[in-house]
């Protein structure tokens, strides 16, 4: 299994998830190349930065 070979890096797993989800919805919801790149960047930034923000807010809790 790949998971056994790779280090368990939570950020990397989250980043790959954001990459796949952003690419999927950009292709599904937009037609032109320019609009797709714009939505991809927006979704990617929202997912990654949102994930980091939530992780930072949860840091004080056990």
């Amino acid at each position: 299994m790949i998971a056994a070979l790779l280090p368990v890096d939570h950020f990397l797993i989250m980043f790959v998830y954001a990459l796949l989800a952003s690419a999927f919805f950009a292709l599904l919801w937009r037609e032109s190349s320019r609009e797709r790149w714009k939505l991809f960047a927006t979704l990617m930034a929202s997912l990654v930065l949102g994930g980091l923000a939530v992780a930072w807010l949860m840091y004080p809790f056990p």
């Binding site: 790949i2 790959v16 998830y17 989800a21 292709l27 599904l28």
Partner: protein
């Protein structure tokens, strides 16, 4: 009047090239992107197939769970529906994998479940998209 018939009245030339929406949705379920391939959207079908398949395989490699309905656990119905959305990927994985229930002690178990559920839901969205394209609701 169905949506197909209404659209046909607006655009009489469309039905000649239109494909069967049931076949398109069914093919989209069988394998990601196959419905779009059938509809002639081959340039977009390949990235869809790659994205959904990679998401599903990563979910398996992270030792996520291929959900099945469990008595007394109503949420497993929704999870099973989502995972079954992956079509043939789900069927083949259940036949080949020793433990479709995943490895709950694995540190990546929750990630694997999220990836597997997402892959299934993505493919269900592709089914709806293929249906909309075939019926003329989406260009």
């Amino acid at each position: 009047m169905t949506a197909v018939a209404a659209d046909a009245r607006k655009n009489p030339a469309a039905p000649e090239t239109r494909k069967n929406p049931v076949v398109a949705a069914a093919l989209a379920w069988v394998f990601p992107g196959l419905g779009h391939w059938y509809l002639g959207r081959r340039r977009i079908a390949i990235p869809f197939a790659v994205i959904v398949t990679v998401t599903f395989l990563l979910g398996l490699s992270f030792e996520g769970r291929l959900y099945s309905v469990e008595a007394g656990q109503p949420l497993t119905i929704l999870a099973t529906f989502a995972v079954c959305g992956s079509g043939i990927l789900n069927v083949v994985a259940r036949m080949l994998i020793d433990s479709p229930g995943g490895t709950i002690l694995s540190p990546t178990y929750e990630y694997g479940c999220a990836y597997l559920l997402t892959a299934g839901l993505m493919n269900l969205l592709l089914m709806l998209d293929a249906w909309d394209i075939a019926t003329g609701r989406k260009r």
